[in-house]
Structure formats: structure tokens, C-alpha cells
Amino acid sequence: MTAPRQILVIGLGNDYRGDDAVGRVVARGLKAIGADNVRVVEESGEGAALIQAWKGADFVIVIDAVHSGGAPGSIHRFDAESQPIPSSFFHYSTHAFSIAEAVELARALNQLPAKLVVYGIEGKTFDTGAGLSLEVEGAAAELVSWVGEELRTNSRSQRSDAEDRRDRP
């Protein structure tokens, strides 16, 4: 049996800009699960800092708010290995670069982790002030549950493929 995969969870956002806090909120929820092989950090979302944060990590999960015009609370999942991350979804600031640009820059520099998944939760409001909108709060709880499951799956030591197939719903 091999050691469980080390996972880095990064929650992005700003606690004082409404739904922009959601990445951090999800990260805190995942931290509370307390899995041994999972490290949870929170970042503001500045791209250069992200590339630093995931250096050396093998499996990274990033959670951030998105603003793409979709229904508030919808959850988008991007697998950086197989698709570019749309910069139209993720805004950080116009001077520094966002998670989307960080991923594409890291890809250009061969500094992408082996596995990087980005979850984006569609925000409703990004006004100044603390607190998530109802839809986003609900989505955050859902995501903590899904990703929590993904983390638990990866926490178990490697088993045979047959065992995995049998256990998958």
C-alpha cells in the first residue's frame, strides 16, 4: 500500500467583499474535516503568490468566486490538465493576475501541479461588507461536502482498481 496522496487546498477571496469570500469559506469548511494528508491555505488570489503557493504540490484544489453571468450559486469545475481556465470568469485585480492567468502562466513555465482542479462558485454580489448571499452560502456547503468526499477518497491508501469500482456509486 502506498502513502495517501498529499493534497493542497487553496481558498481564494476577500472576506469583506460579499460573495468574494466564498473560496475562503469553503477552505475553512474543508480544514475542519481534518484529513492528515490535506493542507488547507487561504490566499487573496494574486496570481504570482498562487504559483509560489502550489510549488512542489502534486494535487491542488483551488476554490474561488466567479463572475460569469451565470445563476448565483452555480458551481463550475475546471481541470487545468485538460482545459484552459477562462479569465473572463475569474477577476482578481486589473494589475495583478488572477487564478486563471496564474494557471496559464504556470502552464507556460511548466510549473503546473500534476493535478490542479479549480472550482468556481458563481457569486451574486461583490459589494463591500462581510457575509455571503443565500445562494452562495448554500453552494459553499454543497462544495464542502463534494470536495470533502473527493478528499476522503484520496486519503485512503491506494487500493486495487476493482475495489474502487465496486465502491463507487
Partner: protein
């Protein structure tokens, strides 16, 4: 081509428009109108919403000014903190000296390194090399971009160590710091700073080779000037056209005007007009105060002590990064921890003035406080407000030379010209605007 068609093209009215400027901080747009092969109008439209800092500072305590104003900018919070604390200390009749003064210069070195490096590598170099973005550039220049990111990180580390946090540092206060680092803490930075100094020198050499448009104007450069140092926090406000005033005389010589198409005020020198702040201004007015290694690097890069080509600002930014690394190493080597992390400051009814050199140029703060230290009145003039007219003037003069370029290439050149100023639009729109026009 048939002469009728040619005549039509000659009379055409063209508009060069970028609805949302990329690779500048903040939300701005560019609009240029060309009629009959002449520039008929230029507007740098800033639509980033005004943020009313000067208003909500009123009623706050003077000790809160550095923390509140730091939120004006995520890239240059130290500049706001430095201008704020110096203005408040001026009001209270205090001057911070010795190791605390050194620490303030050191944290500013960190901010210059981080801000300039980001701009040089990620925002401006792509223009000179013909890349749409730094990401496109990174594919061909992987090692170079990595060097840039690592150099930027050096700046962030200095700010983090002294400021307690990279973004919106928490360790700066009126009177000094909440906690001063030990000599051992600072020495930890020295090895990496030596790498950074060498990387900065390589950066100057790299940007020196870029193709620069032949473009010079007769600017009035404005910067701080200090008898002994390349300026950060202290000095008189001087210009290349004879201005030489104390910071507290700023309002007698500079005035802000509203323009209908911008949420940021335009700043002008009374009875003279537009002026130019930032690295090129500092360089022109203080060249012989640069560290010798930086002076040498500038000359080797083909710069004279006076440079009036705004496109070469990218070289000057690189020279300033080198200077900041050398200066930081010198200060760390000589550092002895202070006995107290801050001096005591007692408020009094007074007006205080502070002006420090943000990466983008002089940042002026003025506060009136009462005997309890409550802020009665605040005025903040960021560097990008001060450069707006000059940016527009540049475009007026620049476009005619390139009229024969196809529309997309001409547009790109104009954006590159705006990026010469590394504009920080979020800073520029901090102010209180009484009338907001919405289209």
C-alpha cells in the same frame, strides 16, 4: 490607388478606441479621435468608481490613517502608509530618525522592487517584444519570466518581513512600527537580496535592448529631492523647470481639476499645466544620488543622466529596482535594532503634510486633526492623478507619427504609451467627487 478613393481616406474621421485598457491597474478606457489626419481629441476615460476615502477618513483617529489609506491600493500600500504617517507626524511635530527611519526606507525598497518588477516583466515588456500578454511571452521566455517572478517575490518578502503581511501591511504605525525586526531577522534577507541585485542588473541589460520609439517631449518633471539620498520619504518637491518648495507648500502650487469624462481628478501646476511624476522624474532630478552600480548600469544601458523619452521608463524602473536592492543591502548591513519600535506621538490641533515617492511618483497627503487626534479633513493626491494630463498630451503628440499604421497596431502603440506611466487607476479614483454622471 484611384485618386478619388485616396482622397476619401485622407478625409476620413477615425476613432481609436479601447473600451477597457488591459495591463494597467484599474478600470480605464482610451478614446482618440483623428480627423483629416490630425488628432482632434484624446480622452483617458477613467470609469473606475470613485471611492470616497477623503470623506470617510473624517472622524477617524489619526492613528488609523495608515491602515485605512493602505486599502486604496493593493500594489502600493506602503506608499500610502508612508505618506500618511509622515503627514500625521508633521502635524504632531515629530520626526522619526535613526533605525526606524532606515526601516521605513527599507520597506519602501521592498515595494519598489515588487511593483516595478511586476510592471517591467508582466505588464510592459510584452509590448516591446510584440506579445499580447506575459503568458504568451512566458512560452518563449520561460527563464526570463521566472526570474521576474522571483525578483518580484524578493520585494514581497521585504514588505512581509517588515510589514507583517504582503498585502495591506499591519506593522506600520504613526511613530514607527508595532514590532521592529532584529538584526538577525534582516540578515536572513541578505543572501537572496544579493541574488536579486544581480537579477536586477540582468533586467536592466535585458530591457536596454528593447526597440524604443523615437519620442521625446519637453516635460516638467516633478519629484522629491533630498541632499543625501535618492528620495523615498523625505525631501523638497522640485521640478525640472525651477520649482523648489517644501512639502507643506504643495497646495499653493498644484491644483486638482475635474474633467467630465474621468472619475479621477487631473492635477496641474498652477499657471503652467501638465507635469510628469514617477521613475523618470526621480531619475532626471536625482541621478547622482543613485547607487554607483545603478548609475553605471543606466549609462551602460544607453541612458544619459537626463532622459525625456517616456518609453525608456522601463529601463529606469529596472535601474530603480537595482538601486533598491543595493540600498537595501547597505541598510541591512548597517542596521542595529532600535530600543523602541516607535516614538511616542501626541496629537494636537494642526495640519500635517506628507509627500513620499510611491513607485509611480509623488503621493501627497494632507490632514487636519484636532487636539484629540480626530481627522477633520483629508486630501490625497496619488501619482496617477498627477500624470493623467501628461498621458493625454503624449497621445496627442504620439499618434500623428504613427497614423499610417493599421488600426490594431496603432491602438496597441497607444496602449503601450499609456503603460509607460504604469498607471494605477484604483489610486487615482480614491477621491470625493460631489457629482457623479452616469451614462
Amino acid at each position: 490607388m484611384p485618386s478619388a478613393k485616396k482622397a476619401n481616406l485622407m478625409n476620413k474621421t477615425r476613432t481609436i478606441k479601447v473600451d477597457y485598457l488591459a495591463r494597467v491597474e484599474g478600470e480605464g478606457a482610451m478614446w482618440i479621435k483623428i480627423k483629416d489626419r490630425e488628432v482632434a481629441g484624446v480622452k483617458l476615460k477613467i470609469f473606475e468608481p470613485p471611492r470616497f476615502f477623503e470623506a470617510f477618513l473624517r472622524g477617524r483617529n489619526f492613528t488609523e490613517a495608515p491602515d485605512i489609506t493602505a486599502r486604496i491600493c493593493g500594489i502600493c500600500p506602503i506608499a500610502y502608509q508612508m505618506s500618511a504617517v509622515h503627514a500625521m507626524e508633521d502635524a504632531c511635530g515629530i520626526r522619526v530618525k535613526g533605525p526606524l527611519r532606515t526601516l521605513r526606507r527599507l520597506i519602501y525598497c521592498g515595494e519598489w522592487i515588487e511593483s516595478h518588477t511586476l510592471h517591467v516583466y508582466m505588464l510592459h515588456a510584452p509590448d516591446f517584444l510584440g506579445y499580447e500578454s506575459a503568458i504568451h511571452m512566458a512560452k518563449d521566455f520561460c527563464d526570463l519570466v521566472q526570474r521576474g517572478l522571483r525578483l518580484k517575490k524578493m520585494g514581497n518578502e521585504i514588505v512581509s518581513l517588515l510589514g507583517g503581511r504582503e498585502i495591506h501591511p499591519i506593522n506600520v504605525r504613526v511613530g514607527g512600527f508595532y514590532k521592529a525586526p532584529s538584526r538577525a531577522n534582516l540578515l536572513q534577507l541578505a543572501e537572496r537580496l544579493k541574488w536579486a541585485r544581480d537579477a536586477a542588473l540582468e533586467t536592466v541589460r535585458w530591457v536596454a535592448e528593447f526597440p524604443f520609439p523615437d519620442f521625446e517631449q519637453d516635460y516638467e518633471f516633478v519629484a522629491l529631492s533630498h541632499p543625501d539620498e535618492y528620495p523615498f520619504n523625505e525631501g523638497r518637491v522640485v521640478s525640472s523647470k525651477g520649482l523648489d518648495i517644501a512639502v507643506r507648500e504643495y497646495d499653493e502650487h498644484f491644483v486638482e481639476e475635474q474633467v467630465p469624462y474621468s472619475n479621477a481628478l487631473h492635477s496641474v501646476i498652477k499657471s503652467r499645466g501638465a507635469y510628469f511624476v514617477g521613475p523618470l522624474a526621480r531619475y532626471n532630478l536625482n541621478f547622482n544620488k543613485l547607487a554607483p552600480m545603478a548609475q553605471e548600469a543606466a549609462r551602460a544601458a544607453g541612458l544619459d543622466p537626463e532622459c525625456r523619452n517616456p518609453f525608456k521608463s522601463i529601463i529606469v524602473r529596472a535601474v530603480e529596482v537595482l538601486h533598491a536592492c543595493v540600498e537595501a543591502l547597505r541598510m541591512i548591513d548597517a542596521y542595529e535594532a532600535p530600543e523602541q519600535p516607535a516614538v511616542e506621538v501626541h496629537p494636537r490641533l494642526a495640519t500635517g503634510y506628507g509627500c513620499t515617492e510611491a513607485p509611480r511618483g509623488i503621493l501627497y497627503h494632507r490632514y487636519r486633526i484636532d487636539e484629540e487626534g480626530v481627522i477633520l479633513d483629508a486630501k490625497i493626491v496619488p501619482p496617477t492623478s498627477q500624470n493623467q494630463k501628461t498621458i493625454e498630451n503624449d497621445l496627442w503628440k504620439f499618434v500623428p507619427k504613427y497614423l499610417d499604421l493599421p488600426q490594431d497596431k496603432l491602438t496597441w502603440r497607444c496602449e503601450q504609451a499609456i503603460r509607460n506611466y504604469d498607471p494605477c487607476i484604483s489610486c487615482a479614483t480614491h477621491f470625493l467627487k460631489l457629482k457623479i454622471e452616469r451614462d
